[in-house]
């Protein structure tokens, strides 16, 4: 079982070392919240900040989303779990951040929990991986021997629905949307400024929290994340009304992998799927 306390110790030790040596100007990690089960994303900028760093089973935050807030060239240390490391890889692929400016502190972990429900977070709502894909140091022992189900297993029920049933399903789910945009803000890959939904010329969708606008916003966002979403599940956890956004993202990711034979965020040598052209790319769309 993952030793959360040990990881926290190592995280604090490494953060202190990096800040003292001046190797980085900020460490993106997790910090104390108003109580034990409510930690917060935390940016440690001085050695004195390190004592506020924590790591426990509720530290689900994907710290990669804060990377774009710092000017290019800032030396940043970032604590990442499996999916978070994939997000960092996508941001490197998209040239939002340079590999040499990052010190990636990998956290292999099994047993993260959803604070709202207390349930273990697994491949049903996330990518299900335990070990970071890219890192400079590991803060704990890699998780071996635990087989997690495929991240697409949860789609088995979903894929039984035909096109019309799926449309009705999403219409019903997206009707609940209150357009708080927490999904967009929680996602590390949603860094566009301005976001399409905020534009008035052309006006892609209206602002009211109703079906036509809601569908337009979410379906477009799902498409914009094709080949980029690394299945961290943050969007679904952020949603205050419980829309299962992860289902659509997983479905799009599955199709993308089949068509382009590449998983999102697995290697910094890869090029983003919708930017790169290869002769052997699938012609499925022309069928």
């Amino acid at each position: 079982m993952t030793d959360f306390k040990k990881i926290e110790e190592n995280l604090k030790k490494e953060s202190k070392r990096l800040l003292e040596a001046g190797d980085v100007t900020v460490v993106l990690a997790y910090g104390k919240g108003f109580d034990e089960s409510h930690p917060m994303p935390y940016a440690a900028k001085a050695v004195a900040d390190v004592e506020n760093i924590v790591f426990n089973e509720y530290c689900n935050y994907n710290m990669a989303r804060y990377l774009v807030r710092y000017p290019q060239g800032t030396k940043i240390a970032i604590a990442v779990k499996a999916a978070d490391s994939r997000a960092v890889i996508v941001l490197i692929q998209e040239e939002k951040v340079k590999r040499e400016n990052l010190v990636i502190l990998g956290i292999p972990v099994q047993g993260m929990k959803n604070p709202k429900t207390g349930e273990i977070i697994d491949s049903k709502t996330t990518c299900g991986m335990y070990n970071p894909v890219l890192y400079d140091l590991l803060l704990g022992e890699e998780v071996h021997g635990s087989k997690s189900a495929s991240p697409y297993e949860v789609l088995m029920e979903y894929e039984k629905m035909d096109k019309d049933a799926r449309w009705e399903f999403w219409k019903k789910e997206l009707d609940k949307c209150i357009r708080c945009y927490a999904c967009r803000k929680a996602c590390p890959m949603c860094y566009c400024d301005p976001c399409f939904i905020d534009q008035s010329k052309p006006k892609w969708a209206d602002k009211a929290p109703q079906s036509p606008g809601n569908m337009m916003y979410h379906l477009t966002r799902f498409q914009h994340l094709a080949g980029r979403c690394i299945d961290c599940g943050e969007c679904s956890r952020a949603c205050p009304v419980g829309i299962p956004l992860y289902l659509f993202h997983k479905k799009v990711a599955k199709e993308c992998e089949e068509m382009f034979k590449q998983q999102a965020g697995m290697s910094i040598e890869d090029k983003p799927v919708l930017v790169d052209f290869r002769v052997e790319d699938s012609d499925k769309i022309l069928e």
Binding site: F34, K176, Y181, P194, A208, A238, P240, V241
Partner: protein, 345 residues
């Protein structure tokens, strides 16, 4: 007068209210409970701590249509919405949320130009307040004691409800509430023991302690004015903030809105929808200038508005300590901690 009903039979009361007009009551949804217009009496569920979205929707809907227009036609042909409101019953509102209506009243119903939509809805509605269940543990995010509100305060409700084992005791607080209670003939009168229980419950409510810091309105207003330019403080407070809009949308006292024209095929509606000062482009001007481009500036605006500007303008803090913003914030930002830190800064 005080009356009662068994909680199992609540659908009977619900059915009566539905016949009298429009009923808004809590229903169970995927991630929690929310107020909804009731069409099926069985759907009302009083087994909740507090709803996800505040009940401000009853008076300040997420979308309020103003005018229906046709492109190319004269303005005289545009149809302004006429609110034909049936008597409305807002059922099961916690004391902190009831207090929020009073705070919003100052802004919409009293100061300067009166908002006709808020006033019409407010006047048409009877409020059934509902005391917190004192046998259920407190949610750590709540801090309504700090704002001078207690778990079983009846002020502001027309009828106030208190749980007694498997029963619900209802007491008329305002003349409007007394009158309605009198009309609900299916409800039984209570014994004097029950009446005592009711009064005792209200007293016991004061012992149900939430997080508390002594916050004097004038002192916090002044303090926030002095630390406005403390960029370090606000950067620290906002470093985790995603700048989404959840806190604003769940908050019972947030009232920022946008006015939008939505047109399709030559016809459209001008309506108002909720907006949030947390959104990046909230203050983006046509010249391209935006006074609040940074997250810390927007969080500073939110906190300063609630705990400083609102006090200077209307004399009261624009917060009731319901804890929703903290509970639903995706990164657990806690307004209570920020106010505490501000007092010490």
């Amino acid at each position: 007068m005080v009356k009662k009903i068994t909680i199992e039979k609540i659908s009977e009361l619900v059915a009566v209210l539905m016949e009298k007009g429009t009923l808004l009551a809590p229903v169970k949804e995927v991630s929690g409970h929310n107020f909804a217009q009731i069409s099926d009496p069985q759907k009302v569920d009083l087994n909740f701590y507090n709803t996800i979205m505040s009940p401000k929707n009853a008076f300040f809907p997420h979308k309020e249509d103003f005018v229906k227009y046709k492109i190319g036609k004269s303005l005289a042909e545009a149809e302004a919405t006429v609110l034909n409101l049936k008597p409305t019953f807002l059922f099961g509102v916690r004391p902190c949320d009831v207090k929020s209506f009073e705070i919003m009243d100052i802004h919409f119903n009293a100061a300067g130009i009166v908002d006709p939509y808020w006033r019409a809805r407010r006047e048409a509605t009877t409020i059934f307040g509902y005391a917190y269940d004192l046998s259920v543990p407190l949610d750590s995010a709540d801090f309504y004691n700090t704002l001078g509100i207690y778990a079983a305060d009846p002020e502001g409700s027309d009828i106030f409800m208190v749980k007694k084992d498997k029963e619900l005791l209802l007491k008329g607080i305002t003349p409007k509430g007394e009158k309605l209670l009198g009309e609900l003939s299916s409800l039984a009168r209570v014994s004097s023991a029950d009446e005592n229980y009711f009064e005792e419950y209200i007293k016991r409510g004061k012992e149900y302690k939430t997080r508390f810091t002594c916050v004097d309105a004038q002192a916090i207003a002044r303090k926030l004015e002095t630390i406005f330019d403390n960029v370090d403080f606000w950067t620290k407070m906002s470093s985790a903030c995603l700048s989404c809009g959840i806190c604003t949308f769940v908050c019972p006292t947030c009232y920022c809105f946008d006015i939008c024209d939505d047109t399709m095929f030559g016809k459209g509606t001008r309506s108002r929808v909720w907006d949030a000062c947390m959104f990046t482009d909230f203050t983006l001007e046509a010249s391209g200038h935006n006074p609040r481009t940074q997250v810390y500036q927007r969080l500073r605006q939110k906190i300063s508005h609630k705990y400083s500007y609102h006090i200077r303008k209307y004399g009261v803090i624009s917060c009731v300590g319901c804890g929703r913003c903290t509970r639903h914030c995706p990164v657990n930002i806690d307004i209570y901690s920020i106010v505490e830190a501000a007092l010490k800064a």
